[in-house]
């Protein structure tokens, strides 16, 4: 992991939150290299014991918030509420669910009753 180009940016947070280090590393690389997001920045969210990421999808301007977590974690709606609050109340938050075989799946969470897209 240390030899990876992304390690430099992430090292302080990987050390601070060891339990989600794998998820953070995986998600950061996926967004940066596979999804090709731009303007990627790391945001410390101590009350959720992890970091969140913010950036934009290719060819878009709108900043999106991504919170990495591991499939084996136990979350709660309180945790989701805290995440929204700490990130400054964005319209939606993407939960990046990481697995042991390095698969990632992203789910969009919005507060309130939001109708599905047509």
């Amino acid at each position: 992991m240390e030899k990876h180009p992304s390690y430099a940016n992430l090292s302080p947070y990987l050390v601070k939150y060891p339990q989600v280090a794998g998820a953070l590393f995986q998600t950061y690389n996926d967004l940066k290299l596979a999804q090709q997001w731009t303007g990627l920045e790391i945001i410390d969210v101590p009350s959720c014991s992890r970091c969140a990421l913010r950036g934009s999808r290719p060819n878009t301007e709108e900043p999106l918030s991504v919170v990495p977590c591991s499939l084996s974690e136990s979350l709660s709606t309180d945790w989701i509420r805290t995440t929204f609050r700490e990130l400054g109340g964005p319209p939606h938050v993407y939960l990046a669910i990481n697995t042991e075989d390095s698969s990632i799946v992203y789910y969009k969470i919005s507060p309130g009753i939001v109708k599905p897209p047509l």
Binding site: L75, S76, Y94, L95, I97, V105, Y107, G112, I113, V114
Partner: protein, 319 residues
């Protein structure tokens, strides 16, 4: 036991074995049109009994629907088994007499119909016999004329032809196989018109009184309480709800009458703000919602703050 003076104005929910049924069609319509409570029809239709796509009364309600209707004082719970009181001898005699008279009426009508049918048949066979006689007479006359012309004895011929005629009339009429006369016994779907059915004396207008009497005991657990509160919140927002089993949730949430709309949301009730929620649940619910063009709602009930918080989940579409 609470006997409510306006039990007849509120909708009567007939409880049997902890399930609430609505047997009156007007009540089913009122529930849907006025209170946007749909329920599920579960009765077999007598004329279409070999299928279950179309079903009839009774309507069965979700326990959350029952709780809401009673708490909002829109309905009362009837202890249905107890409401069917033992019939007095006089009442039974009256019921028996009514049944006998109905049977007699039906038999009388059936007999009259059969008599007129027979009369109709006889006239045609009389016609046939008459025509046959005419034809025979003509043939006999022609044969006699022929015999005279050829010099044969006439007596033999006339005797033989007249024998034919006698044999005709002597032939006994074909006995008609008359089936025994049947009548129908009507079994009413609703007990409302039965003399010994007394719902007013076994009505409970509050959940507490029904629970004390052992008639209704939902909700018992904190999860059941959370489901009732979430249902109530969604109902107060004007939504129609249905059971969520077909889409892996607790409720289906419709923007309007389910006969007109597909549901937009599948709702899962979260018992409390700190109840464990696994990422796998987010994946399972979110993906199913997206695949069926719906959104999945996580509905959190906070017992302390007494409020519901909603989170909508869908697949991100990338990754």
């Amino acid at each position: 036991m609470a006997s409510d003076s306006d039990a007849d104005r509120k909708i009567q929910l007939r409880v049997s074995n902890r399930k609430a049924y609505v047997w009156d069609v007007e009540d089913i319509a009122t529930l849907r049109a006025k209170h946007h409570i749909c329920g599920v029809l579960t009765g077999t239709l007598p004329h279409l009994s070999q299928q279950n796509v179309f079903l009839g009364v009774p309507l069965v309600l979700l326990p959350e629907e029952v709780v809401l209707l009673v708490e909002k004082q829109l309905a009362v719970l009837i202890d249905d088994p107890s409401a069917h009181q033992p019939a007095s001898a006089e009442a039974l005699a009256r019921w028996n007499t009514e049944r006998e008279e109905s049977a007699k009426r039906q038999i009388a009508i059936a007999e009259a119909e059969r008599a007129s049918e027979k009369a109709a048949k006889l006239s045609t066979s009389e016609e046939a016999i008459r025509k046959r006689k005419e034809r025979e007479a003509k043939r006999a006359a022609a044969a006699r004329a022929k015999a005279l012309a050829e010099g044969l004895p006439v007596e033999d011929l006339s005797a033989s032809t007249s024998n034919l005629l006698i044999d005709e009339s002597r032939r006994p009429s074909t006995p008609s196989k008359s089936a025994p006369l049947t009548f129908n016994v009507t079994i009413p779907a609703s007990s409302s018109d039965i003399e010994w059915y007394n719902p007013e004396a076994h009505a409970y207008s509050t959940l507490e009184s029904a629970r004390a009497a052992g008639v209704w005991d939902y909700p018992t657990t904190s999860f059941e309480r959370a489901k009732c509160r979430v249902f109530q919140d969604l109902w107060e927002k004007g939504h129609f709800m249905g059971g969520g089993i077909k889409f892996g949730g607790d409720f289906l949430v419709y923007p309007g009458d389910p006969l007109r709309y597909h549901s937009h949301f599948v709702a899962t009730v979260i018992e409390s703000p700190t109840a464990p929620l696994t990422p796998m649940e987010v994946v399972a619910h979110g993906r199913l919602g997206t695949a069926t063009k719906k959104s999945h709602l996580f509905c959190e009930w906070d017992e302390r703050k007494q409020e519901v918080t909603y989170f909508s989940v869908e697949w991100a579409g990338f990754g």
